[in-house]
């Protein structure tokens, strides 16, 4: 019942949850925009990546794994771009 890949998947998803919790706490606690941005991009890149990896391991069909990987790449691309945009805006607004 509990094969090796399922156990591995649970471990990785738990790790992802840890990253999500840490990132959320950082988002609430950190003082300024840039460090909050750092926290939230860690959630997108690392947390979501681990979540996808964990879910890929338990997909019955390999094509679903490929789709999940594609979703992760899309999230990576958009979060990198929007992160830059927000950071640029924040830096421009700073010396008021």
């Amino acid at each position: 019942m509990n094969s090796l890949s399922e156990l591995l998947s649970v471990a990785i998803v738990l790790l992802a949850v840890l990253v999500f919790v840490a990132g959320t706490v950082a988002l609430i606690r950190l003082p300024d925009v840039l460090s909050r941005l750092h926290a939230i991009s860690k959630i997108d890149n690392l947390g979501f990546g681990l979540l996808v990896l964990g879910l890929i391991l338990i997909q019955p069909a390999w094509i679903d794994g490929v789709k999940l990987f594609g979703i992760w790449i899309l999230v990576l691309v958009s979060s990198a771009a929007t992160g830059q945009l927000i950071a640029r805006h924040a830096v421009r607004e700073e010396p008021r």
Partner: protein, 314 residues
């Protein structure tokens, strides 16, 4: 399963909390953000209720396009200090809200127990006659095609209204190389997924509305990046774009009349092809209409062109 009921209750609580936040957050910008989050959670709710068609539409239109439209109009509004409403008005609106909630609760509770009743049975029995294998598409474009046609007409009249508002808002144009690159990745993917959703609609959740909304979001991405190199849409092609869906729908609906059949009663053997044809044209028109809703005005930069003197009272 126990765990799912916990998740469902959490989602319900989140929907209510986000709705409250969208109404009562202090700043307008925060309310818009909460409204976008609200749309996403409502999409998840539809998915949990096994209604993937609605979940797709809500995620694309409710959260995505409406969110983009609200954010866009935020740039042109300022937070106006609101005068507190008078005591009588507040009591009155609270009473009306209470009556509405009670009425809705009575209606919803009268629906229980939910079971696959006569309507579901009727659709599944006559599924073969519809020309498509997905029940939602069969209902939308064959059994109740009238409703869909009128929905298109409603959207068209909204778009016509918007065209009369004046020139569209200017794009803020983050012409950074980064957003340019992102758009170059996103726009082809969005067009591809619109085509996929359109084709898939015959056998699985998807269809003209979802596909049109995805196409419209590609237009939003282009507008936000401020791509100046794109060819301008002329007046004639804009009219063609908006009218091709409704016109084709009516034309296909009129054809059976020649055979002595009812309006929109497609011949069974051609139904699948006709539905695909209608949906393709409808997708293009819906994309145009939703883009206009987002732009909030005429895409022509100095519309109306032949305005003599705008200050002169007519």
């Amino acid at each position: 399963m126990m765990i799912w009921s916990v998740i469902d209750i959490l989602i319900c609580a989140l929907v209510v909390a986000l709705a409250m936040a969208a109404l009562y957050a202090p700043a307008l910008r925060q309310r818009v953000m909460f409204f976008i989050a609200f749309g996403l959670v409502v999409a998840i709710t539809w998915a949990r209720l096994h209604a993937p068609d609605l979940a797709l539409a809500e995620a694309i239109i409710g959260a995505g396009l409406t969110g983009a439209m609200l954010l866009m109009s935020l740039d042109h509004t300022s937070d106006m200090p609101r005068e507190p409403a008078s005591y009588g008005l507040r009591i009155g609106s609270a009473a009306m809200g209470g009556v509405l909630i009670l009425g809705l609760m009575m209606i919803v509770s009268s629906l229980y127990p939910i079971h696959d009743g006569a309507p579901t049975l009727a659709v599944s029995q006559r599924q073969v006659e519809s020309g498509v294998s997905h029940p939602v598409t069969a209902v939308l474009l064959n059994f109740r095609a009238w409703d869909t046609l009128l929905e298109l007409a409603v959207l068209l009249s909204a778009a016509l209204g918007i065209l009369n508002l004046g020139p569209a808002r200017r794009s803020c144009g983050h012409a950074a190389s980064l957003t340019d690159g992102l758009a170059r990745v996103l726009v082809p993917l969005l067009i591809l997924s619109a085509g996929y959703l359109l084709w898939k609609g015959a056998f699985a959740p998807g269809g003209a509305f979802q596909a049109g909304a995805v196409l419209a979001s590609a237009a939003v991405v282009i507008h936000l990046t401020g791509w100046e190199k794109l060819p301008r849409v002329g007046l004639r092609s804009l009219r063609l774009l908006l009218l091709v869906g409704p016109t084709l729908f009516v034309a296909v609906g009129l054809l059976p009349l020649l055979n002595g059949q009812a309006f929109l009663q497609y011949p069974v053997e051609l139904a699948g092809l006709l539905i695909l044809l209608i949906e393709s044209a409808a997708m293009v028109s819906i994309a145009g209409m939703l883009t206009l809703v987002y732009l909030g005005g005429h895409p022509h930069a100095n519309w109306p062109i032949e305005l003599v003197n705008p200050k002169e009272p007519m």
